[in-house]
């Protein structure tokens, strides 16, 4: 898994060695201090599912999970991934190729059109799922800690979409929580 960034550097730069967990696998690499996580994922590890939408933290297309929390990977310095647990859209899909319930809900509810925002949306919804999975729950009791539709909308404000008008994406998240199948 060891790879180097592109050759042909005009000037010599100090490289930093980092190790982290990427989609449940331990990986390490040498990178420049200025490398952003988005480029590390896409160009070094060649996982193209994380999408570059703006490179300035506005659109959310490049959302990945760092220790279960959503971050814009375009604003996250890759050196800070050292020792952390990174999950991308590729890590969300089950090993046998079957879809994670978040992805399944997006597909079945018609939440995917051009699809360029979808990876980021899926990771943001997964982050929401993590939040509620980790919250205290007594078996047998009715859960009242699910997000409301308005809370889902608020949570997804950082992910832009130009095709769907967001309705089906919010539907997908809402139905996922209603089913408790995460």
């Amino acid at each position: 898994m060891k790879k180097q960034l592109k050759k042909n550097k005009p000037k010599i730069e100090v490289l930093h060695e980092i190790s982290f967990t990427l989609n449940e696998k331990q990986v390490s690499c040498k990178i420049k201090a200025s490398t952003i996580l988005l480029d590390l994922i896409r160009d070094v590890f060649e996982l193209k599912g994380t999408k570059p939408g703006c490179h300035e933290g506005e659109c959310g297309a490049c959302t990945v999970l760092v220790n279960d929390a959503p971050v814009n990977s375009c604003l996250f310095l890759a050196v800070n991934a050292n020792g952390k647990n990174i999950t991308t859209i590729e890590g969300l899909t089950n090993h046998d190729g079957s879809l994670h319930p978040v992805q399944e809900s997006l597909v079945n509810n018609g939440a995917v059109q051009c699809g360029f925002c979808t990876s980021g949306m899926a990771m943001s919804i997964k982050a929401m799922v993590n939040h509620f999975e980790n919250s205290h729950h007594v078996p047998g009791e009715i859960r009242n800690d699910f997000p409301t539709r308005d809370e889902i909308k608020k949570f997804l404000e950082g992910n832009l979409c130009r095709c769907t008008g967001y309705v089906k994406i919010v539907d997908a998240a809402e139905k996922l929580f209603a089913k408790e199948e995460f």
């Binding site: 996982l47 300035e56 506005e58 992805q103 018609g110 059109q113 051009c114 925002c117 308005d150 950082g158």
Partner: protein, 774 residues
Amino acid sequence: MKKELKVIGKPIPKHDANIRATGKAVYGHDIVMPDMLYGAILRTEHPSAIIESIDVSEAKKLAGVHCVITAEDVDVNNIGYKRDHPILKTGEANCTRDEIAAVAADTKEIAQQALKLIKVKYKVRKGIYDVQEALKKSAPQINKFISGKFENKNTAEIFHYEHGNLEEEKKRSKHIVTRKFTLPRMTHACMATSNITASFNLIDKKLLLYSSTQVPFLYQRDMAHALKMNPSDIRVIQPVIGGGFGSKLDMHPFEPICALLSIKTGKPVQILYTREEEFIASPIRQPMEIELTAGVDKAGNFTFREINIVKDNGAYTSWGATTPFVIMQAFSSLYKVNAVKFDAMAVYTNNVFAGSFRGYGNPQATFALERVIDLLADELGIDKAEIRLQNANRKGETTGQGLHFETCGLVECLENVISKSHYNKKKSINKEGRFKKGIGLASMLHVGGGAKIYRSDGCGTILKIDPYGYCTIITGSNEIGQGSETVLAMIASEELGIELKKIKVINTDTDVKPWDVGVHASRTSFVAGNSLLGAIKILKEKLNKKASALLKSGDSEFEYSDNKIISVKSNDSIALDKVVREMHFSEPNELAIADYFYEPSSKFQDKDFKGNVSGTYAFASQAIEVEVDTYTGNVKVLDVYVAQDVGRVLNPLLLDGQIEGGILQGVGYALTEELLMHEGKILNPNFHNYKMLTASDIPNIHFSPVETFDKEGPYGAKGVGEAPLIPTAAAIANAICNALDLEFLDLPITPEKVLKAISLRNTKNNSKINSHSL
């Protein structure tokens, strides 16, 4: 007797949604080719300047740079709808987007570094950023590549249309209203930025392009013209496209530039726009001023409309210049009107040029028209819903422009939204207090069966069934996320009795697929659907013949179900794959393949712009309720009631997606989205300052499809893609005006404009009170 449909009409998810939702779809940004270089473009620093010199020597010396090109290094033709657009600019810069030089390098970083080493000497000129300035006699000619067809040197295009006796209709009008509206620059903001990968093969001199174009065959021809190549030596492959909305109807300079870099280096070259570049250098919705005068007689019938439009063409001419084709349809034919005189002019300036954008001028036209209809109703003292119903188009009508409405659901659409929104109750609810609610109505008319603006509006299909019973549809049409592939697969599944997972749609390669004019004008499901149905009919004749021979029954009528061909008379059946194998392997040994080219019944309009330009027409009405915060000026869109004549629902899940996505774009157009310019430069080229709406801004959308079963459409369906956003801004504006009892003539209606209008009225009222009290 109507056969019950098994697949059509069902809410089936997009067939490759799972690929897209797992990050496995390959977009232009994801393409990596061996030995690939990265291209970058140097744009002018000044929107209007003389370019005195360009020095690329330092850039060429930088390690990792393979090629630097300027206009001097290439032998090319101009591009654009009027061929008035040089790919690389020399001598002068006329627009902030102007491409001066381009670089190909080993990495994106080196390419950017190289751009910084290019030294350009400019002599800055005073630019012309206002259409009225451009029309003055003293103004210099902005675009030097036009032939001087028009009297004024800065006129890019002129449209004139009329029907009926205008003067007579003016005379018999009881009320006449005149207003001038200003429409903003709106940008597509596709989630994937513009991209292209070009690979020129030095051995066989063929050019391979991975391009997000919406019109691959026109693009192939345009590219060939630009590069002085044979179109057939250019192969266009469309990767998965991250949003279109009309932005990819034109070929833009970065595309032939990328091809030139590849031709010069003999290596694949990729250009990816940054988001800032996307805001600055990709096309926009046409900004324009619309002056509309319209009349109504004492019985409430519309008498006439007189329209004068001045569009800011920017420095070069794109397909966007032809939007008056569509704009005039709304004015000539939405609601019955006896006389129309329409004039539109596109004027060159040093501003950015527009392209085409979902709705193609219709949102602008509909905003002006529906606003004035509200004012006419007020003048006459007639209800705003009533006046629309009274004048609504009906089935069977042929309008003054020659548009023929074989089916027309406008009355049903209007009645639907009026009733569901409780319009009559809500229009006069209490407007006291800080938060004022209002409701507005608007309708729209748009082409629903393609638009014959090119010599052919056709689409080809090649259909085959393989010996394993799988079906491959090779269609000329394109997928840009809207789901047309899925609709085509559903049609094949319905007609051939093959399950969806056994159906493949091939639609991305000009070397393989048959001709099609492109994805635009809400045409794909209609035109490609009909084309596929034509191919299915031919293929079935072949399959029926073989099945009949194999069953030895002499039957001629068959049904296709569960991968079987079933005799209607005897109910005997035979497996579809077996029939195909027998076709291949027994005499007369033929393929289970068929091809068909579908051309809609529509006509190319005459020189007076008259004629039935589309195979059918779509209608829609929206009733929108808003709440205005009179302290902050914020407008909240509460409920959108939308009814749309879709002909027939082919897939309700995908249809909802088009409606909801369109409406939110319409809300953005109405309230928040504007590309701001000052002296030719764009002030807000990022998502932080260009306000696209987020999930929190979704209104409650209540959608009712209206089915009119047009005999021209596949299963009766009409085009749906553009319609949802067309009346939204108009209905929102009408609702805000209803809430505040104020008028708004410009979009977007920002909080700032709302507060200004409220405070202006308060000042006026106060001064009135003061003068009275004196």
